[in-house]
Symmetry: C7
Subunit: 261 residues, 7 copies
């Protein structure tokens, strides 16, 4: 076929494909911005970056195609481009992995800012959800930077009521049934006067036999992030009630058998 016709076909193809690709990128980024509540800023950056990469790539393909129509050997150029591409790709690999993981975390709303989560073995309140990095503020004040690729299982502690759990020990000499009755009454009074309680607290029963104590377990459902304070309040009130009723929280016991040497 005539070389001229071939060149024409290639250039036309370029002129059709180039703007279509750019529009596709722009509209995709816009949709993503809406759905994922990306900040205006980040969306612009992302769009610009993608269009740049796209333009260089398609321009490179055009040049190579034309060169090969003129029978200029393209193998060396392709090889060189391949090496550069590999070098960039190697550097960007982690980045791609970060962005893809981050995308799904956003898409499935696994984490949102202000949530209390555990991810990649670190816990705290989420401060920022970035494309590459998630920032989590630990309760001791530390700021953790977690590359998104490190996030696998996510444990979100801010999705519903939380459990407050108190284990309380009584002596083997006490009457278990009476103690349960007493503790249940304290729990009922507590629930009546505290709005943060969603369910319970209930004395679920004898959780175990310790070496010197019978362990009773009390479980409640509380408002999110209030579980620790409820547990502390509950402990205080339960202890006061046991003191008043004269029921002992036992110290470790030991039976001493005496033998002369």
């Amino acid at each position: 076929m005539y070389v001229g016709l071939r060149i024409l076909l290639v250039v036309i193809a370029y002129m059709i494909i180039s703007p279509i690709g750019k529009k596709l990128i722009t509209s995709t980024v816009m949709k993503m911005t809406e759905k994922q509540r990306l900040s205006e800023n980040r969306a612009k950056t992302l769009e610009k970056l993608l269009i740049n990469v796209y333009s260089y790539a398609i321009l490179f393909v055009l040049i190579i195609t034309l060169l090969s129509i003129f029978h200029i050997p393209i193998a060396p150029l392709l090889a060189g481009a391949g090496v550069v591409g590999l070098a960039i790709g190697f550097g960007a690999q982690g980045l791609v992995s970060d962005v893809v993981t981050g995308f799904f975390i956003l898409l499935e709303r696994q984490i949102e800012v202000e949530d209390y989560v555990t991810a990649a073995g670190l816990s705290g309140i989420v401060e920022e959800l970035g494309l590459r990095t998630t920032k989590i503020r630990d309760f001791d004040g530390t700021l953790h930077f977690i590359p998104n690729r490190n996030i696998s299982n996510v444990s979100n502690h801010s999705r519903g009521n939380m459990r407050a759990l108190v284990d309380i020990s009584i002596a083997y000499e006490e009457n278990v049934a009476e103690a349960i009755q007493l503790l249940q009454k304290v729990c009922d009074d507590f629930a009546a006067k505290d709005d943060r309680i969603k369910e319970g607290p209930d004395v679920v029963g004898v959780q175990g036999f310790g070496s010197s104590d019978v362990v009773l377990r009390i479980i409640a459902q509380t408002e999110n992030l209030e579980q620790w304070d409820v547990e502390r309040q509950l402990r205080k009130e339960l202890k006061a009630a046991l003191d008043q009723a004269g029921i002992e929280i036992p110290y470790p016991h030991q039976v001493n058998v005496t033998k002369k040497h």
Copy 2:
């Protein structure tokens, strides 16, 4: 051969293969929907996604084939497409792995919503089985998001009766045979009045010699998820019976040998 004939053959092949592929996809998704009880919604999404991917892929093959019949060099185009494909593939790799694993979990009914399971080191009640992610609600209220690819061994605690196990200690001074007889009687009474018991409870015998106690083991089969409550009830009743019979649950013992300095 004439170029025209070749083009004709290629276009005809395209017109035959294209609709066949689409129908295959639709029917496959439909079958899967029925068998796996996929929600209508998710099936639609999946079908649309697959047909889109398929159409672009087959169109690309058609274009490349026609170009190469016109002797327009296709190597650069192929190389470019390869790079884009690799980039997408890299991003999608984890996703494919998630979907395949999720598919087999559904197919083999390893997990169902409302089951109490342990998977990827996390336990809880399954809230949602997604194509990419499984959501498990921990007993403390935390919501775990587990990418399906992380799920390997699955331990399903909701497939049949569960075992209730209570270890109870008596002093070395007690008569073991009598204690077993007494505890067995308590167990029998318990089984008689509690519907959740499926088998036992039975005192299986002397499980071990502790440093200050002889450990007796009691095992029962209970209705699913009732095992903990049965254990707690059993502990309460066993302790009451031992108290009544005057059999001691011993504190740690120590023989003191006195030596003057």
Copy 3:
């Protein structure tokens, strides 16, 4: 050479190879079914699957070969098929690994249904040996699903007699030789009246010096899965005998040296 002759040769080759391959598959599956006691059902599924895959593959080769004889460029088609193949392959990779491992587990009879085994860190009674997954019922009632690829070392606890092992402590003040004699007598009586004992029980000697006790070890061989009950019975009888002979199982001892402050 004439194109016609080439086409003829190719088609003949196809017509010969195609049915031979199908027969090979059928006969292989049948042999496997017999030897490995595959259920009729699973054999049919496997055969149908393999023949489907085989037919599509050989048809694809035929088409490509014919196209290339007509000088229609096949590179794009091959590339496309390669990508699809890779995608399927990626998804199926784990599956192949599961099936191969499962095959060898069956072939070498490492596991059989009803065996008590430890595999992939999980223990229990085998409920089902699938091509992809092995189901193990834990003693606490949990059902474990283990993808076969996760199974590496297999510890089968149901292949022969099991050992019952009891460690019993006597005080430093006791005469060791006499105690061993007494315990050996109890063991001999036990062996005489219990059918499940295959060997022993024997007092093998002084296993160690504890901080307050001399530890004597007793070992027996019992019928499979009876080892725990034998141990429990043995413990009960040994304790009774020691009680009767006035030999003490010692509590922890401590020598107290008094010093005024």
Copy 4:
């Protein structure tokens, strides 16, 4: 086409691309220097290195292209160059990974000199942020050299106020409510006279029941790096206050039951 024209085209392309690439490198390095506060020195080194690599690479492509226009076989040369490139690449792989990670640590300001951080399992004050290595001075005087590729999650302890946390035990016999009141007063006085306190300290309540003590928790927010000294001061003052009020910090307790042998 005429060989002469081809050569001309190639040489022109070289003369255009070569200086453009160099300028691109120079300007990129300059921008990076400004934004990331790279030292003048390091920027020069980086620029020189990149331009050297670039010049050799583009020269090599030129030579290969010309050779292949003269129909001198280039496959061996390419193969040789590939091997050399692979050898260098293998050596440089870790280096690239170091530089890319280091770049993002700088870009996102995850770490800055003088910060107190935990990275790659090592903690200390950052002394230097290099392109390849981060130097951290441990509190015991050790200097840690961490290749940047080893840095994944970063825990920065110098980004905001830190928490001071003191757990203090009181005896079971004490009145919990009164003790809390007393401790809170000490805390309030402490906050009034110490500028480093940003919030609290507050007695948050009964954190747990120890074997011999009721544990009360006190939490404050302090200036960065002052948390340990605040904790130490707080401990000293709380102890003094408890001593004065006659509230006991209990020793371990044990209930001794005496039994004659």
Copy 5:
């Protein structure tokens, strides 16, 4: 060159190479059988398997070569064969690894049937050394199936005399030199009357200062697998000798300082 001549050359080559390869396989297997003491059975299986694989492979090469002489395009066929080969290879990969490792274990006689070994974290008496799997019988009766590829370091406990080691404690108040003398005498008497002792037993000296005891160490070399019984015998006799000499094996000591509250 004439096509006929080419075909002739190829066919002749085939007829020469084919039987040579088969003979090579047979003789190699025979040699291996002799040297490694493979059972007759396994050798036959191995030989048949290898000859089958070899025949199919060489036939395939012949067919492809002939086809390409007739200018029938072989690329599709090669690609197809490659895929099938890969699929089989993937399945067989673990198998090859098993066989190679197993081969070296046999060749270097690392393990032999009846040896007591530790491999892949599991210990026991070797029951069978297979090409793919090694079966080890644990002392508790469990049968371990270990795929050979899992075997890396091998610890063989049946290659020479074993050490019997007894640590014995005496009170701080005892005279160490005298105690060593006494224990050495017991050891010498023991060695004199017990054939299983190969060296020692010797009191090597004061191994450590315990919290309440001076620890003396005794070491002997015994016949293989007799070390445990020797240790037990030694312990019994040493205790008897200490009892007779009135040297105390001390209980834990504690100095009690009394303070009024």
Copy 6:
């Protein structure tokens, strides 16, 4: 083009490139020798090795190029060379990794001979820094050989002053403020008379509440490697001062509550 011209061009290229490469190697090695203080010996070895490898490589390229100009098929030769190259490369891979890591350790002066370092989990004084292996002498006399590739994070304990840290306990009954005053005085006297002290020692305050003691922490900065001796001296003097002042380092305390059985 004429074959003669091509050959001429290739030979000329060879004669230009060959000596240039050799000079490049020589000068690079010389620079490295100067900067990294490589021993004369090792530099010679390295240079000779590199020039050998280089000469063989370039000769091979020359031969292949000439052969292909004479249309002698070079594919088999290339394939053969590739296999040999891969085999050598596989063997050398670890070596390259060792050398590259070793190079950066030298370049960044992470480790120098006589330093006390922790690397690859092993600690000691560096005896030799090789291109492949680093030798570290442990304090117990063991000589560790660490392949450089195993060295990742390096903790160098010989880069500046080290911290001496002493925790000292006083009884709950003591006056904390007075005790701190006393200890601080001892520290000041110590600092006055000991040249190795660079800063402190200072009593930083109450580090914690033990079960029977109040823990005070003392921190100093000392000359490198003198930290342990300073700690030992400090401990001795602090104890003497506490003895003299009658302040008790408390034994573990226990409150005994007596209960009749």
Copy 7:
């Protein structure tokens, strides 16, 4: 060019290269034998093996080259050879890794027969250094087979004097300075009469404050493998000296505070 000339060139090249390669192998093995003290036997085996491999490889290249000169298609043959090569290579991969690592262990004299080393987590006296496997005899009599590839860091305990370290406790009531003086005197006497001591023993000072004791550390340098016996002797003599001087090695202390219930 004429086919004849090509064939001639190839055959000549073969006849030159073949014997050169064989001589190279022989001389390399001979050099290695001298330097590394390989046994005569192993050298022969190695030489024979390498020459075999080399002859087959070069013959294969010759045949392929001749075939391709006759225009017999060699792609299938190459592919077949590649597969066989890969199969062998896969099996030999671990072997190569073993040999290379073993070579460097020999070259750098990291391990020699009779040394006491720790490698791959196993310790003992080296019995044999093989090309593939290192055999280490554990002190308990076990023979460890370690494939060389598993050996990474090597800790050689037989390269110079070893440290003997004894920690000895004295009561808090003792005078530390006097105790150190006394112990130092014992150490000096010990050093005077024992040839195995190379340095010390020296009382380095107060190593720590235990819960009931002041810990003094004594360090000496001894002849290799004599460190344990020196420690035991030292312990014996130190205890005797303390006994004589009436300095107490303290039992655990406890302060008892009595409280009525």
